[in-house]
Amino acid sequence: MKNKLDLYALTWRMPVIVWQLLFFVGPLLFMIAMSFFLVKNYRMEEAFEMKNWIKMTSRGYFWDAYLYTVFLASLSTVVTSLLAFPAAYGLAFKVSESTRRWAIFLLIIPFFTSYLVRTFSWYVILAESGVANAMLAYIGLGPFKMLNTIFGSIVGYLTLTFPLVIILQTLSLSNIDRSLIEAAQNLGAGRLKTLWSVTIPSAKVGLIIGAVFCFILSFGDFVAPYYLGGSKPPTLPILIIDTTKAGQQWPRAAVVAVVMMLTLMTVAYTAISLAYRKRR
């Protein structure tokens, strides 16, 4: 293989570098810098002051929002992972190869299909006099308050993350070496024992990556907690929107965004080192 760095090689290598530096790394670095800027008379001034950081981190509502967002995203991750597992397990082990392919085909569609409109649909379904309560009333239950609750937020997060997490779990489970599972069963391990000490550990990396993506998506989403969760208290993404759109306080919004990025990096790093840690 020719491997020298000539015009031909550079033609293919450079576009992504140039584009990402200009429009991906550039914006992110500028946003970090912006968290130290000042706003005077509704105009942003480039500076290097800790004012925004002190202002934001000394406010109770910021930490309320922070803890609530971490709580919601964690809850969403646990619920989604647990609900996805039986489905992924079934798709990986209990259906034919072609059924599995079709199922993944079908799950990819909603992942790329307007999350916003799907959430609006849930809003209508879960409303006080919506479809869900009307159906529950047929069997003599309800009405339940589903909108503006944690339940509502979780339905929204599931709408966003469920297909992706099922796909990632299915892929990692179906890549397990089947002979490992058979060996465990031949050695007399029961179903649950096999599941717990062979199947889950072997698919650990994929399961954790699914959970990390679920956490990132939930943590950064504003639609579910706003429209279905009622935004009381607001989450960090909602705080960013309010601060940017209503208050014109871009530097303060940048503080929130930087805190979010640091949190996500910590979570992802911890989870991934957990995933690749050797079992003793």
Binding site: L28, Y89, F112, S121, F162, A254
Partner: protein
């Protein structure tokens, strides 16, 4: 064994529930778009197309459609081009810092959209490029390129690396080997990547909402209506959005899997 059958049945039932949950919002939205009642609930009212008529006669809707199509086609093309270049580089070359190179290319989807939205808004304003249609195109290309790269990279994976060297040995230059060997081989993945990235761009609303200024795309228009009230028009627009993006994603998948199976 009996327990085995029971487990199998339970799993099938569970899968059914999962798929019902996943597709419920899409189906409900389509049904209610033809429902006459102002507030969508059961029992249904009568069949009507009035929501569609209202939407179709609204010039703002057509303006949003034009913006959305322009944005998604342009970002789709740019993302596919950049994705191809990156996928080919990854396939063909080994070099120092390749890990960092790949990370740079693939990282955008792991950053929450709300953060990218703020960062893009600030940066594009700084360089005097915010509030334009092409501001959205620039931002969407960043978001979409990794998906294009993934799809094209998977396709190149199936190409025998010796195919290209064979062309060189027969006297073809690198450029003509690219044109006559690599590109024809990658073509289905390019189409597939274009459809997929176009769908991603067509549906994206957070970044668009921040950087678009007055040039609303369809999802941004929906977002702004939602902040007011429950408006049944949303179901009609939503059905249009679902139909468009589902078609694109299905085409992307069909082209990709058809070619993949044939060549393997």
């Amino acid at each position: 064994m009996n327990t085995d059958r029971l487990i199998r049945w339970a799993i099938w039932l569970y899968l059914l529930v999962v798929f019902v949950f996943v597709f419920t919002p899409i189906i409900t939205s389509v049904i209610f778009s033809f429902n006459s009642d102002r507030f969508p609930t059961v029992p249904l009212g009568s069949f009507t197309t009035k929501w569609y008529q209202t939407v179709i006669s609204d010039p703002d809707f057509w303006k949003a459609v034009r913006t959305s199509l322009l944005v998604s086609v342009c970002s789709g093309v740019l993302a596919t081009l950049i994705g191809f270049c990156t996928a080919y580089t990854d396939f063909r070359y080994q070099f120092r810092f390749k890990g960092a190179y790949i990370a740079l290319a693939l990282l955008p989807p792991t950053i929450p959209l709300i953060i990218l939205a703020l960062a893009m808004l600030a940066w594009l304003s700084k360089i005097g490029a915010s509030g334009q249609v092409w501001s959205i195109i620039i931002a969407h290309t960043v978001l979409c390129a990794p998906f294009a790269m993934g799809v094209i990279r998977l396709r190149l994976q199936q190409m025998d690396p010796d195919l290209e060297s064979a062309a060189w040995n027969l006297g073809a230059s690198e450029w003509s080997a690219m044109k006559n060997v690599v590109l024809p081989f990658a073509k289905p993945a390019l189409v597939s990547a274009f459809c997929l990235t176009m769908a991603v761009s067509f549906d994206e609303f957070t970044v668009s909402w921040f950087v678009s200024g007055l040039n609303k795309t369809i999802p941004v228009a929906i977002l702004e209506v939602l902040q007011g009230t429950v408006d049944p028009q949303i179901n009609a627009i939503g059905t249009f959005v679902f139909f468009t993006s589902m078609t694109l994603v299905i085409i992307a998948q069909l082209i990709f899997t058809a070619r993949t199976n044939r060549s393997s």
